[in-house]
């Protein structure tokens, strides 16, 4: 008989492992499910042990048997309580209203746990097997009835306002648990309560708490935040800046006016995010505006360009240069107090491929061994890396992924060390001409 409990336990260990290692939103709902999983694992352990001990009453000391039974019933009440809490959070999420009887459910939990700890235990011995009964065993039947009733009531009361899929999942799980409890009550020797709870946990895990869905929600939430950030009407932004720029000029502050002009230009160019490919001309214009501003902030920065004018019409992935330049500034030249030189070169590639070669050369602090290895690994195995939403190397990874996607596998990004100091970012991009759409 213990075999089934061991199987249930192993399945839930596996489920718990996947669940805890996956990313999800940090909400009360998911915390409750985590607690439920842990309580469930403990419960199954005690379930398995008590099934053994209750059938070996003559060899196992009564005290040990009692203690194990108290834990068994105690964890079971807790599991049922967590089920109730979990469902109530789902309902609250769905309907946006507070669930009633929550206080009662909490108080009842305390009473039931006390009962499980102190009430006397009686064991029935039958030819089919032994089981505990009497007032102690009644604790779990009463708790089960109370919480299941609360759940059913909650579900029926809010039936129309809950998402179709969710309410059917909850209803199905409740029906399973009701049937199992009913069978257990009629045939006490069947000892199938652990199976019922495992089934219910699995039902919730597979539907409401599926890690893939949760991860999707998490990403969606972050993306929507990014999206919202970009939703600040760009026209508002640069129109306002432009007005301030004019005022600065009216105040005869030519310096401020010029910097604001660059900023306005930078915003104007960077809101064209709807295109995947842009002309090198456009990309360079954005870079000029960006570098003007950076050089203004850090006067010891020097920048020079060597752009083959014939390449102006070549299409390059949108926003591909600025992240590399920003990396050179923030990871290389920053460490030298923003003192140094940056050079951007774009020319025809000398090799076999029809390509243009772009280089961003800085005289910054260069890579230490660890960073170099990390970057190299990242650029080589770009495909296996998850697209993270934050972090230092997101820029580089993103650039590499976009080159591979938009230009082809033969093209890409790599870094070399300069002879004297700093690094050079090399990009090989496909020579594409034509319309930017």
């Amino acid at each position: 008989m213990v075999r089934m409990e061991i199987a249930c336990f192993l399945i839930l260990v596996f489920v718990a492992f996947i669940y805890f290692s996956a990313g999800r939103k940090n909400t009360a709902l998911h915390k409750t499910f985590s607690a439920l999983l842990i309580a469930m694992l403990f419960h199954l352990v005690f379930d398995a042990i008590t099934i053994y001990t209750v059938n070996h009453l003559e060899t196992v000391p009564t005290l040990l048997n009692d203690i194990l039974h108290r834990f068994f019933i105690g964890t079971m009440v807790l599991v049922v309580y967590f089920f109730y809490r979990h469902i109530s959070f789902v309902v609250e999420d769905e309907t946006g209203t507070q669930v009633r009887f929550m206080r009662f459910a909490n108080i009842f939990l305390v009473i039931a746990e006390l009962g499980a700890l102190v009430l006397p235990i009686h064991y029935s011995v039958t030819p089919l097997g032994n089981y505990s009964d009497g007032i102690h065993a009644a604790v779990i039947y009463v708790s089960m009835s109370v919480y299941l009733l609360l759940c059913v009531g909650m579900l029926v009361f809010h039936w129309r306002r809950i998402n179709r899929k969710k309410k059917f999942v909850i209803a199905a799980a409740l029906i399973i648990e009701l049937c199992v409890s009913f069978v257990q009550a009629i045939v006490p020797t069947s000892l199938i309560s652990g199976m019922g709870l495992t089934l219910m946990t699995m039902a919730f895990y597979l539907t409401l708490e599926n890690p893939d869905i949760l991860m999707g929600e998490l990403v969606e939430q972050k993306l929507s935040m990014l999206y919202l950030k970009s939703q600040v009407n760009p026209h508002f932004l640069y129109n306002t800046l432009d007005t301030i720029r004019i005022q600065a000029e009216l105040n005869q502050d030519k310096e401020v006016a010029n910097q604001l002009m660059h900023l306005v230009n930078f915003f104007r160019l960077s809101v064209k995010v709807d295109r995947q490919m842009v002309a090198l001309d456009d990309e360079m214009e954005l870079l000029y505006a960006y570098m003007e501003l950076m050089c203004y902030r850090y006067p010891k920065l020097k920048v020079s360009y060597e752009i083959d004018p014939e390449l102006g019409e070549v299409l390059v992935p949108n926003f591909i240069l600025q992240p590399l330049v920003e990396n050179s500034l923030l990871h290389g030249l920053k460490n030298k107090g923003y003192q140094g030189e940056l050079k951007v070169i774009a020319r025809k590639y000398e090799g076999q491929l029809p390509a243009i070669e772009v280089q961003v050369i800085d005289t910054g602090s260069g890579f230490d061994k660890e960073t170099r290895e990390k970057i190299e690994e990242l650029l080589l195995h770009y495909n296996e890396k998850e697209q993270k939403l934050e972090g230092d190397s997101i820029g580089v990874l993103n650039v590499q992924k976009r080159i591979k996607l938009l230009c082809g596998k033969k093209y890409g990004l790599w870094y070399t060390d300069n002879e004297d100091c700093g690094v050079t970012a090399h990009m090989l991009l496909r020579m594409t001409k034509g319309s930017g759409r």
Binding site: H235, Y238, N239, D242, T243, R245, I246, Q247, E249, L250, M261, V264, N265, R268, A279, D281, D282, P309, G312, E313, S435, G436, R437
Partner: protein, 248 residues
């Protein structure tokens, strides 16, 4: 050349203020005679002041700038409009260019380079005046007309004031003065304008490479051409061509 009257239309007072005080109108033979902050007021002011040039924001209250131009255009076919807009969108631009003597500049407005725009309008005004003047005989007698005609036909050649002086048996200084008086722009600005207009036409109607376009309008070095074009149009020739392709 008589002074040109200018009407400023923008719903932001700061921008009108900027136009008024940050650009040397005097030097370019213009004078700001009025302001308007919405479409209705603009219509009224145009009616009342009959300005030569209207600087017009598109996105203004009550009635859009484009609508104002459309309405005024019927009544005053030779009035010049300069559209100022933050929507750097060629769809707008094309719509605007259909309404004659209309120029288009993008925000942020660089007041130092705004003179280029005014010069261009003057040339356009001069040319539309030339077309409307029916008396062919009278035209023949005006030296400036023969000079500009010659320029239009030979812009791909290496033309200088000295060359014109020799060709028309006049002093270089006199010709220079003639341009200033009759058109209101100096010789070089006029020639550059002519070349850029032709270049724009070639860029959008042909598939000629940029170097070829440069040569046809009188620039042997296409890098110089690109630089000048960029200054006048605030975009490179290839950007200009692409912009037109994309909106089609």
């Amino acid at each position: 050349m008589k002074k040109l009257n200018v009407l400023l239309v923008d719903d932001e007072i700061k921008i009108r203020e900027g136009f008024k005080r940050l650009f040397n109108w005097e030097e370019h033979g213009c004078e700001v005679v009025g302001e308007a902050s919405d479409g209705m007021e603009a219509i009224n002011q145009i009616e009342f002041l009959k300005p030569d040039i209207v600087i017009m924001d598109i996105n203004i209250p009550i009635m859009s700038g484009l609508k104002v131009i459309e309405l005024s255009r019927m009544k005053y076919p030779s009035m010049a409009f300069i559209i100022v807009s933050g929507y750097d969108d060629f769809a707008f631009c094309r719509q605007a260019l259909r309404l004659q003597i209309t120029d288009y500049i993008l925000k942020p407005v660089n007041f130092e380079e705004f003179g280029i725009c005014i010069d261009r309008l003057k040339v356009a005004l001069y040319e539309s005046g030339m077309q409307s003047e029916k008396g062919a005989e009278e035209q023949e007698t005006r030296v400036i007309i023969s000079i500009t005609k010659h320029l239009q036909e030979h812009m791909e050649e290496d033309i200088s004031l000295a060359y014109l002086a020799e060709k028309f048996h006049l002093s270089a200084q006199y010709i220079s003065q003639l341009f200033k008086n009759e058109i209101g722009v100096n010789f070089l600005a006029y020639l550059t304008n002519l070349r850029m207009e032709k270049a724009k036409k070639l860029l959008v109607t042909t598939a000629l490479p940029i170097t070829e376009v440069a040569e046809q309008v009188g620039y042997s070095d296409y890098r110089v051409f690109t630089k000048v074009f960029k200054k006048v149009e605030s975009m490179t020739p290839s950007q200009y061509r692409r912009g037109f392709m994309e909106t089609e």
